[in-house]
Amino acid sequence: MEISVWAGWIAGIAIGLFVISHFWLLGKPAGCSTGYGNLCGLMCRKIKFFRMGEYSNLNNSKLWFLIGIPLGGLVSALTSVDSWHLSFDMGMYDAILPQTYSAKAIWLIFGGMLLGFGARLAGACTTGHALVGGAMLNPPSLLAGVVFFGSALITTHLLFGL
């Protein structure tokens, strides 16, 4: 379905204010990918990594932040001009991704695995490193942000064959 989108600068200001509000309300930086570890810890109790350190308490704000995201996405979809419906359409990507549903699914699972593994190996994702880390001018985050972007840029160019 087509989501109604704001002008870039308006959405940017709103997201900037979100980052500030998150600091003010919760007292710490916002982040998304860490919460996936909470879900892993809840699903599989045997993996010690998801039972210690930052994962010693799984019922924390990282988990609840992640649970909140789809609620906001749903509100956005329901208030868009286009009505809510299920769709496997991927826009421009449909021209270059595998054409069968099963192959497309495998492609996306594999891409998702790279996102999940890469985010943990890098310590954070686009939100924690590029957005919030960038706002704090944290050197490792700026480095990660540049590599995220450069790597995705090269991948996209290879996929679209330009």
């Binding site: 989501i3 940017g12 906001g72």
Partner: protein
Amino acid sequence: MMKILQKVNIFALIMGGLFGFLMSRAGATTYDYHAKMFLFIDFQLMEVIVTAVVVAMIGVFLLKKFQVHSIATGEQVDFVKKPYQQGLILGAMLFGIGWGMTAACPGTIPAMMAEGKIGAIFTFAGLLLGTMAYGVLQTYIHHEHPTK
């Protein structure tokens, strides 16, 4: 029950909802905006992130200057920075490949599922598997196989 209803978690739920809504309205949950940015066709998402980082930077400066205290904890806001860790560059490269392949990132995927995007369900499954793999690897390195 009290633990589940902690104030911090309620705030986090609300902030997560706001984040999902804003990611969606920014166009970050729409596949084509990612391709268009990386192919230099449309800079919507670039405009979003640059504006957001600048606004947030000013906010962080002000919060620090006035030593603002957190509403949820009552303590001074912690501007803890993610440290450099071994594997950061490799991890960031893998992440970028995943970003290019799926036109999504960990923060947008839950919102995309709620928008009815079937593809996002598979990417979400992959995200859990990838995170799980990292946890298994770390557990193996540090616990099952302690260095002697």
